[in-house]
Every structure is written in structure tokens, then in C-alpha cells.
Symmetry: C2
Subunit: 418 residues, 2 copies
Amino acid sequence: MNKIFASIITIGDELLIGQVIDTNSAWIAQELNKIGVPVKHRIAVGDVWDDIWNALDEETKHADIIFITGGLGPTADDITKPLLCKYFGGKMIMHQPTLNFLKHLFENVFQRPMIERNIKQAEVPDVCTVLKNEQGTAPGMLFEKNGKIFISLPGVPHEMKWITTNHVLPIITQKFNTGFIEHRTLLTAGIGESYLADKIKSLEEALPSDIKLAYLPNYGMVRLRLTIFGTDKNKINQEIDHQFSLLKENVKDVMVIDEDLPMEAVVGELLKEKNKTIATAESCTGGSIASLLTSVPGSSKYFMGGIVSYDNSIKEKVLHVKKETLETFGAVSEETVKEMVQNILQIMQTDYAIAVSGIMGPDGGTAEKPVGLVWIAIAGNKKIITKKFNFRFDRNRNIQLTATNALNLIRQLIVDNS
Amino acid sequence: MNKIFASIITIGDELLIGQVIDTNSAWIAQELNKIGVPVKHRIAVGDVWDDIWNALDEETKHADIIFITGGLGPTADDITKPLLCKYFGGKMIMHQPTLNFLKHLFENVFQRPMIERNIKQAEVPDVCTVLKNEQGTAPGMLFEKNGKIFISLPGVPHEMKWITTNHVLPIITQKFNTGFIEHRTLLTAGIGESYLADKIKSLEEALPSDIKLAYLPNYGMVRLRLTIFGTDKNKINQEIDHQFSLLKENVKDVMVIDEDLPMEAVVGELLKEKNKTIATAESCTGGSIASLLTSVPGSSKYFMGGIVSYDNSIKEKVLHVKKETLETFGAVSEETVKEMVQNILQIMQTDYAIAVSGIMGPDGGTAEKPVGLVWIAIAGNKKIITKKFNFRFDRNRNIQLTATNALNLIRQLIVDNS
């Protein structure tokens, strides 16, 4: 086995001025991990000739496989292709199969004329292997130098993913005799990172040296991840499974699930398994809980629908919350969310329901009801539970914390069959 | 003026195996840009002693200010603090003001006992300046070496942001006499990157050498950004404003807005300006459009509410779509979205409404109605417009493309007062 490392270079000024968040690197890293290639470095540079050139030099020292994403578009700020051509000592030539594919795309799919800029996208350095891009106009390119490989991909996520899956990963697994990496991840909720660390202190200290434990806190939940690297797939799987079962035993009272699933998928799995349905009545989260639940493929099996009653008039007219409840206790109150959850259960005829109302900020807070105050109600056919939260963060974070906590509360209710 | 550059080092295995997407770097880069400090490099390394050490050595060559985020938590995988202590030749001491603050936090805010791990978070290298963290338990640290400054911050986004805004940025502006960076960004919709590039070709070629143009394509929209860097704030503002007005003139028929605003904020601004209201009826997007509209602070002024009619029974019972419409034409049809939009306008009593129905995948497609087929209807008090789309991507991308296109269609209707 060769221990192979990868580096990822992302190119684009937009990454350095913070206009765009890089999601490509995370995806590439996940895929490389699956085939036993750890990523050692990730580096972002601007559309600057010398910076790209130096990054190539630098990453060659650290890694065997260098991914380069971005800078392949048809516009003048994209300099990656001529730079790679020079770096690897080639000259630009027209790549006929790519040109043919582009002609086909413009004629049949885009149905618009091809312009000079598009034709130029079919030009590639004569020293590269072209990686066909069936999802767009810029092909991928593979270069080799001193036993290392360099893969240049467009920055558009779905194009980058398609080329990686269909061309790059098969080439890497074939070319390098890589080892295996295994991860086991579990999700906990309702316990802080420090307490969790104390809870599993002796287990952590007794971990074999080839297994690494990581804490990943996120919106009131903490994921725990074990990682092992080795050559014997069976052996490392046995070893990590053994440690993972010990870990699960240690945290069983706070564990949500022993997989790396987001909370909305955990709730979805439970509903599917128990053949139950759910609906939402949202005020302050404005549809985020419904949107999280429906982000899961197949959610139409259990998610019936939701009402976003942002304005009080909608709470009254559509959700049928009593006028006097709203007037006496206000929209952000235990009484209001209780009526919201009872009514949505009735309206949507579901087994479970979630209702939330709160003040997300930055404006709208008062001394009595400050920004961050949230009431959540959850209901099954047997039980209604209400809970008050005081978050103290910004609007976006308050919305996400409300959604996560609401999903965790309903999860517990479903687990209990209540 | 000194031309000052920054580098950002993010630490954590979770970044290299792709479990977490790095949003901190983008935010730091934005803030640094505002005070005239361009970010030259961004690098991510794992929780590995040598890799962090080498990254510090390497980035010192490129930058004057080095940000280091992550690795400051209370758990055993966080090695950043002892490493920095050694790197800068210090020894660990208890920082009494931090300890006092932690005691206060645990006693009054968290209301749980403080454990040994938490106490250790108040220890810092004696060679650093402590940057108080009012949002959490890990303080920030500032080190100086050979005229360069190193800032170590916790990875939790709201803590990192609070320390940067309240301590780091004021220190940088005071210490370095930085120049100014100005950006001007505009948003276009409904035109591809290549066509846009052709449209502004002569303008782009005539740009002064100190102004940079960038194309930022995203979900069927392209943002164009001009950037200038210089010492004379008035002069660079005048120069970039002049070029920006030429650019706007060139793209006026496809321009959505001459600011760097997301589409949902553009729609919100228009509604506020015209004192109009909006509601949504969503099937396939599952609440995403409502959630986008309400992500904007102050949206309660114009967003009344929405119905997520995911299941057909909800389309019928709650949205009052006729049974025969659903049976004859199906849920994903022009007829259904037309009724959805008419009914939601009625139910929510708003000036404008959006309705969408489609097949997002991966399952649920047929030969006649494939994955990616979406019908959008938008309505004002005078007009209803329906439009069919054929997206061909994955679930998440289809949802986002549907939301963006629906928002752009309603924007045009509001602009036209229709």
C-alpha cells in the first residue's frame, strides 16, 4: 500500500473576498476519504498568475494528487487554463471531441448560437488528458508530472461532481494502491462538548493509537467521529466497530443516532419506520422547518404540509388561533403555540405536528419578550409538550437553533410513541 | 500606506474530510476587505501538530496578518493552544480575568457546575494578548513576531465574529496604515456568463488596469463585480463609480439591482418601497421560498404567510384546489399552480403571490413528467403569469433553482406594477 495524500487548490477572487462560500472542497474531501485518500491541505488563491503558480509548486511538496477547481469559465478573469498549459510545458490545441460535444449542447440543449468564447472552451493544453464534462461547457483536465497527478476541474459544483465521480475517482483507484479510511459518526443532542468529553474520558484515553476521536459541535448538537486508517479493510473495520460500540454504550442516554445523518433525516427515518405523518405551523422560522423536512428525498411519504403564519392575521384566519389568545398572551406565548399545534394537527390530519413562535431579531424585541425568545410546541395524538427557549444570537442562528430544537423535541416524542 | 496582506489558516480534521463546510473564512475575508486588507491565501489543515506548525511557517512568508481559527475547544482533539504557546516561545499561565468571566458564565448563564476542562480554557500562553470572548468559553489570542501579527480565534462562528468585530479589526486598523479596497457589485438574471461577457466585451477591454472585473455565476443569475485598490479613498471611489455607471448602462436590460443583494432581499425592498404584501403556496420547494423571504430582517412588514401543500390532500383541503383539476391535469401542471396562486392570494389577502409545483427527484419522475419539471405561477392583482421549467439537476439544486426563478418572476411583476 502507498500512503497517498491529496491537496485541493481552489481558485477565484470571490473565495478570498468572501463573496462565495466554498462547498466544493468539502465534497471532494468526502469522496477522496471514501477511497482511502486523506486530504492534507486545502488552499484558496485568487485569480492571480503568480499565486496560482506558487500554490502548484507548494502543494506538489505536500501531496501526490492535486485537485484544482475553478477558473475555467469562458470569461477574461479565468486564467487557469493558459497557466496550466505553461506550467506543464504544453501548447493550446483544439480538442475536437469537446468541440463536437459543445456544438451538440448549443444546438440541441441550450438552443442558442455558439459564440467565439464557447468555441475557445474546447481548446486544451496538448499535454493533458481531457476529462469529458457531460454537464457543462468546460472540460476537466488531468496532468502528470514526476509521478504526481494534477486534476483541473470547473468550479460549478454539479459539473465538478460529475467529472470527479465519472472520471477522476476511477483513475485514482486504478493508478494508486491506496489504503482504506473508515469513519464512524454518531449524533448527540442536549449535552455540551465539555460534559460529553468528561463522560467519555476513560474511553478516549484508552483508544488505540491508530483511532482518532473528533468532537463536532453544531447548533446545540455534538457529533462524535472515530477515524481509522490502514491496509487491511477487514481488520480496520473490526477494530473501529469494536470501539464504536463502546462509544455508543458510553453515550447512549444522549445519543440521537449512530450515523452521520442530519436531524431532519433522523426524524424522517423514524416517521417512515412507524408509518406516521407530520405537519408544521411556523411563525418565526418562516418555513425553515418544513424546508428542512422536505430537503430529505422521499419526504413526501410522511410530510403532509405546513402553514407559515407569519402575520397575526394568518394565525387567526388560516390557523384559527383564537383572537383573544393572541390579544391576551401575544403571538409569542405558550398559549398561542399550543393552539397552533393543536389546530395544525386537526387541519392537516397528521399523527405529529410542530409549532413555533418567537422573536428572531434584530428588531421586534421588548424588555419582557427579548430577541431570542422562542416558544415551541410539539404534539402527537396522545401528548402536547411546550418548551420555552432563550437564544441570544443573530437572526439566522436563532432560526436554525429553533428548527434544530423543534426537530429534536418531536424526535423524542416519536421515539416514545407519544 | 503599507500594502498589507492577510492569510487565513483554518484548523480541524472535519474540514479536511468534508464533514463541515468552512463559512468562517468567507466572513473574515469580507470584513478584512472592508478595512483594505486583501486576503492572499486561505489554507485548511487537520488537527496535526506538524501540519499546523508548517502552515504557520508558510503563511508567515505570504502575509502580514495571519488568522488562525479552530482548535480551541475544551476537548482532547484541540491542540492549537499548546502549539501556539510553543511556537511563540511562551509558557501556559492562568488568565484571571478569563477565569472570572467563565465562573460568571457557568454560574449565571449556563447554570451548571464548572468542570476541570472549562477551567483549563482560561489558561493562555504568557506571550499573547488575550482577546476577550463575551460569547463563549475560549478566549481569542494575539501574538506578534517580526512585525507580523497572528490572531487565534475559536471556530464557533458567532464567537469568532464577536471577537473579530470587537477586538481584532480595531487593532488592525490602528496598527497598520492600510489602503482602501472598494467593490461595486450588480446582479443580472436570465443571461448566461458567455453572453454577458460578449455584451460587455469592449467595456471590459477598456477598463483601467487598477480595476478588476469578476463574473460570479450562481443559480441562473450572474453577479458582476468591479474591484479597485488604492490609497486615496476619494479618488478610487470616483474612478470605480464612473466605471460602474458605464457597466450598468451596458447591462441595464438584464440587471436586477446594482447592489450585492440576494434576490429575496431585492423582492423585499421592492415590496417595502411600494407598500405591498406577498404570500406563497409551495409544493415541491417545501417552504424554501417562504424561508428565503423571511430570512431578510424586517420581512414581517410584507410577508404575510404561506401554505406548504406537499401532499395532494392539503392542496385540496387547505388550498382549495379543485379535485377535478388535480385528477385531470395532475399536481404538476399549469392548471394546478394557477389555482394555487389564485387561492393563496384570496386566503392570505395579499397583493402578490407565488405558487410552485414540480418534481424535484431523485424519485417521482415519469416519461411524461420527468424529474426537474416545474410549473411556477405568480400573481398580482391585475395579472397571473405561469411558466414551465425543465431543470435537470439534483434535488437540492432543483429546489434552489425553482426558488430563485420564482422570486425573479415576481420581482418583474412588482417592478411592472402588475
